[in-house]
């Protein structure tokens, strides 16, 4: 009873959820593989070996080799680094921007709040992939710009959710009580309103990750994302599609990697939402 916090409860509910736990394990394995990639595989992801093109998956080359004779398993593992970075960093930026704008817009309200939400509406009215393509096309196809593009796409949803929460939180009596002991507005937003939004922000963040990974894959597939020879998963699928009938594994195995990763993050997000839900309701 003594040190029981909301987060202890959440962790317990999360542990009881088998699918979420499975998702978490997959993600942890993926992170370990990505971090220790040079120790996991003996091959270099960029070194070509034209004598060994299109080798079938075997004990030596688990995922086979691609059209330049590079080991596909190595490329997929190095690609995990990119996909995880793409999943985590823009999601963090997007959710942070969304949270700040959402809190301000919800708490201050008035004209400022109105215009922030109209901006969010504009962003959300655009098909997100199209918007990302436009951003990438104007800024140039680099990994860094990919972060920017995905952040630009992602903040609006977070801002909306946070704003609607803030609207209900700011009417609660403890906010009035905080004002009554002389807390100033800026501090009320940071110390009293924001922590109450944290549970839903965690859910938003995890739910944003698979979206970002998929967007990156789509952009790279279309050629405006990561550029060759970067071993991005979307790019791997894109390169492999030419040989879909002669050497199907070159396209399919990176696709499976995307599928499993996205699924795992979605499981985590769902589990987290279910665990936190009672707190969101009341």
């Amino acid at each position: 009873m003594e040190k029981e916090t909301i987060f202890d409860d959440v962790i317990r509910a999360f542990k009881e959820n088998k699918t979420a736990l499975f998702g978490l394990i997959v993600v942890v394995i993926l992170i370990v593989l990505a971090v220790f990639a040079p120790y996991v595989t003996p091959y270099d992801p960029y070194e070509m070996d034209l004598n060994n093109r299109f080798l079938k998956p075997s004990l030596e080359h688990w995922f086979g080799t691609d059209m330049f004779g590079r080991d596909l398993f190595t490329r997929v593992i190095y690609g995990a680094r990119i996909s995880l970075a793409i999943g985590l960093i823009p999601s963090l930026i997007a959710v942070s921007i969304g949270a700040i704008l959402g809190v301000i817009s919800g708490y201050v309200g008035g004209r400022l709040g109105y215009w922030v939400m109209r901006m969010a509406d504009v962003v959300m009215a655009f098909p997100s992939l199209l918007l990302a393509i436009v951003v990438m096309y104007t800024l140039g196809a680099t990994l860094f710009n990919l972060f920017i593009a995905l952040s630009v796409v992602g903040w609006a949803g977070a801002a909306r959710v946070v704003r609607s929460q803030v609207l209900s939180i700011k009417e609660k009596e403890f906010i009035e009580a905080a004002k009554a002991i002389g807390v100033k507005d800026l501090k009320i937003m940071a110390k009293h309103v924001f922590p109450n939004c944290l549970p839903s922000l965690m859910v938003l963040f995890t739910m944003n990750i698979p979206d970002a990974i998929l967007s990156e894959a789509s952009l790279s597939f279309l050629g405006v994302g990561a550029q060759p020879p970067t071993p991005s998963w979307g790019l791997l699928v894109s390169n492999g599609k030419e040989f879909l009938f002669s050497a199907p594994w070159v396209a399919i195995l990176p696709g499976v990697a995307i599928f499993i990763t996205v699924l795992a993050f979605n499981f985590i997000g769902d589990g987290l939402r279910d665990a936190i839900d009672p707190y969101l309701k009341g």
């Binding site: 403890f174 009035e176 009580a177 905080a178 002389g182 807390v183 110390k191 922590p195």
Partner: protein, 324 residues
């Protein structure tokens, strides 16, 4: 003359709604003497809470405004202070506790943090000193094992405990004035008595003046020194507690006192007295006395002209034509 800590003169707080102007507080004069318990009594919607919020400067500016009057605290007019000056005053010199102890504490912050917050804002004490002060005030308000409670969250405490924590939070800077907005309404009767006792004790220890906003005349009789009876945005009767209860003079005060169920004379069971009619709409208050439509003794002048305050004995004022 006695020393007034707070003097409200002709306060008018209006809310501007789509249906029109709601005159929630319409010309209210209240004095709170140093070290005394002042009551503001009235039924729901008579403007007593709005009066409290007006003193704190917490009327939501998007819909409401203090349109007239002065709130003199010591020698400052609170209605003329800037946002920053007012924020500095809140929690240090004037504090408020609210009706709902269940929702007045932030669910994601620990008790220790919340009780210490006024000190962190208004003083330059180190965090160890703040913790010491928090522990001693928690002890003073009767929280058992305060040290282990510092890390508790509000949902781990009962309603009475939470109200004690609220009081601790309001009193930690030793404010000169405490506004208690129905602090015991949400609690059951035994806890009510304890909380009132606690407030009385703290008042004496820290030499704070308290304005108690309530609809419960039993509570008023028990602890208060001065009473202001409020009806539909006006004060209708004011005086010290003995005079009001011995010689209630405004018909509304009679009505209120007669509406309290009695336990005595069990043999003669009678229907509980109720004041007939309903509170007038504050959107369009009646021209004369606002109580006239519900008053048994109303005459023509009551409906036409607002009655003045009449002194019926020393320190006992009544706003009624019966005493003019």
């Amino acid at each position: 003359m006695q020393d007034n800590l707070l003097k409200i003169k002709g306060l008018r707080t209006y809310f501007f709604t789509r249906k029109g102007i709601v005159k929630a507080v319409d010309g209210v004069d209240i004095e709170a003497k140093r070290g005394k318990f002042t009551a503001l009594v009235g039924e729901s919607g008579c403007g007593k809470s709005v009066t409290g919020l007006s003193i704190m400067g917490l009327i939501p500016s998007s819909i409401g405004k203090i349109v007239d009057g002065e709130i003199i605290f010591e020698d400052k007019d609170l209605t003329k202070l800037s946002y920053k000056e007012m924020a500095d005053l809140r929690g240090r010199d004037i504090s408020m506790i609210f009706q709902e102890p269940m929702t007045s504490l932030n669910p994601v912050l620990t008790i220790g943090r919340q009780v210490g917050e006024p000190l962190r804002i208004h003083s330059s004490l180190s965090s160890e000193e703040i913790q010491e002060r928090v522990l001693s005030i928690l002890e003073m308000v009767g929280i058992p094992e305060p040290r282990s409670r510092l890390k508790s969250y509000p949902h781990q405490l009962s309603g009475g405990m939470r109200q004690r924590v609220m009081i601790a939070m309001a009193m930690i800077c030793q404010p000169k004035l405490l506004i208690a907005d129905e602090p015991t309404t949400a609690l059951d009767v035994t806890i009510q008595a304890q909380i009132l006792d606690l407030m009385l004790n703290l008042m004496k220890k820290i030499n704070t003046s308290i304005i108690l906003i309530t609809h419960d005349l039993g509570v008023v009789a028990e602890v208060c020194d001065d009473v202001n009876v409020m009806y539909a945005g006006n004060i209708v009767e004011k005086g010290d507690v003995f005079k009001i209860f011995d010689k209630p003079s405004h018909p509304y005060t009679w009505g209120l006192l007669r509406s309290i169920p009695r336990v005595k004379n069990r043999s003669r069971v009678r229907r509980l007295y109720t004041i007939k009619g309903m509170v007038p709409s504050l959107l369009d208050p009646p021209l004369g006395c606002r109580f006239a439509d519900r008053c048994d003794r109303a005459s023509d002048i009551c409906r036409k002209k607002e009655p003045p305050f009449n002194s019926i004995e020393e320190g006992h004022l009544v706003k009624c034509w019966l005493f003019a």
